[in-house]
Assembly symmetry: C2
Homo-oligomer: 100 residues x 2
């Protein structure tokens, strides 16, 4: 399993609109091949910062399956205009976890 991590910095005072748009957008990823689970969490120290964590079965489920899909175009249209700057997305693999 692969963890996608994106730190999302939202344009000033657009947090509420972003959360509404994300609530719609999350239905897009949840339906895709290889999608396992996701979380959107809001930063306590920086009020316009969020972290998006998505578990995918494989790296390619995200980088190919999702990013080359028509659903990705909808996702972008809903969300990308909130970001400043555009986020750098990284992928991680588990080393240790507890509980399993």
């Amino acid at each position: 399993m692969i963890l996608e991590v994106a730190i999302l910095d939202i344009k000033q005072n657009q947090e509420q609109e972003f959360e509404k748009a994300f609530n719609r957008a999350q239905k897009i990823i949840s339906s895709l091949n290889g999608y396992v689970s996701h979380q959107l969490q809001k930063c306590i120290e920086k009020k316009n910062r969020y972290i998006l964590l998505v578990n995918w079965e494989t790296l390619e489920d995200h980088t190919v399956g999702f990013r080359e899909s028509k659903e990705y175009q909808e996702w972008r249209a809903l969300l990308h205009h909130f970001y400043e700057p555009l986020p750098e997305v990284e992928h991680y693999q588990n080393v240790f976890n507890n509980p399993l």
Copy 2:
């Protein structure tokens, strides 16, 4: 519940030693008041990068309970010399997640 997030950049070629030290250090946090769960994951795109995700019951369980404990001194001694730069630690609160 609060999610502690730290992106950890490890000095070049010290990844294996860091993982060994983390394997010992994780027993320290797992025993503390307010600790819920943790994951250490390794970045695919940057080989010396990790992400540490720790769930705590409250913010203070981490920022006061842990950081002012004698256990934190052990944690620092085991891990901090691997970091370059010292990580910025942030805390997040859930907005959306799926599955619950």
